[in-house]
Amino acid sequence: MQFRFESFAEFMSMAGHGPYVWACYTAALIAISYIVLSPMLRKKAIRKQLQRQEKLAEQQALQAMENKA
């Protein structure tokens, strides 16, 4: 196993193919980030929604008690 490029600049340019190769790897990074983050963010959003609902239910229960009193 050895590194196939002489310098970092050569690694970036990839003998002219650099733009193609790096564009693909950047796109892959974006796609994978989307795949990883979207279920996480969705769970977070559902938790927030539940918390809001619970709070609302509590307030309504409190209001009902006050109305009775």
Partner: protein, 246 residues
């Protein structure tokens, strides 16, 4: 007795609790493999004598394409199980497989087009393989759109399942397109029996394929778990599961 596991599997709560422990492992292992595989592919894999450095795109293109099709199997089979046994969990798996499959298919198309420019001299041709994969993307988008189109979840699930099953026709066409219409896209280089690819190039590729499969497994489970939480939001166990761990 023998079918007990099958009925249990149909229970979203059981599924959610069972998969809980796997999630961090699947994600960290897959990301570790993909990151190290990419470094290997970009810097350490030998140069291709014909294509030069552009072939390093293969390490993204091939795994994305393979798993994009695997995602379709999962979606269609889950849809069939949902239709036959009316299993809600199965419909949820079908629904969440569509956006993951769409992203992977888009990635396969994009990397393919960018790879095509230096190799074939063009980003796109109406080659049979390219066209059938484009249809795969539209099938995924169709399922996503159907899910959004109906107010009743049950109707949306049934319609998506039928579209998924009908679209299965496309899968053997994708596989065989490179042999039936030998136009531009090359046939498969890796086969079970023999591979026409050097080992130093093959190992990182097999690594990337494994990494993508594990990432897909994680994403499918994670999205199904979110879908379960959404659909069962009114139940006690979901409230407990979500509100206690804050």
């Amino acid at each position: 007795m023998a079918w007990q596991w099958f009925h249990r599997l149909g229970s979203p709560k059981w599924f959610y609790e069972k998969t809980n422990a796997w999630m961090p492992w699947l994600l960290s292992i897959s990301l570790l493999i993909i990151v190290s595989g990419s470094i290997w592919a970009l810097g350490f894999a030998p140069l291709d004598s014909k294509q030069g450095n552009s072939y390093r795109i293969m390490y993204l293109h091939v795994p994305a394409s393979i798993v994009a099709m695997a995602a379709y199997y999962v979606m269609a089979i889950a849809g069939a199980i949902g239709l036959i046994w009316k299993m809600k969990l199965s419909y949820m798996v079908m629904k969440v497989a569509a956006p993951i499959g769409a992203v992977l298919t888009a990635m396969a198309l994009f990397t393919g087009a960018v790879w095509g420019k230096p190799t074939w001299g063009t980003y796109w041709v109406w080659d049979a393989r390219l066209t059938s994969v484009l249809i795969l993307l539209f099938l995924y988008l169709g399922v996503i759109a159907l899910q959004e189109a109906f107010r009743e979840q049950e109707v949306a699930d049934k319609a998506s399942a039928i579209l998924s099953l009908v679209g299965t026709v496309n899968i053997p066409i994708i596989y065989k397109s490179v042999d039936w219409w030998f136009t531009l896209h090359q046939p498969a280089s890796i086969k079970m029996t023999s591979s026409s690819i050097a080992p130093e190039m093959l190992y990182p590729l097999l690594g990337m394929i494994t990494g993508f499969y594990i990432l897909f497994t994680w994403a499918l489970l994670a999205s199904t778990r979110s879908e379960i939480l959404q659909r069962e939001m009114k139940t006690k166990w979901v409230k407990q599961a979500l509100l206690e761990k804050v």
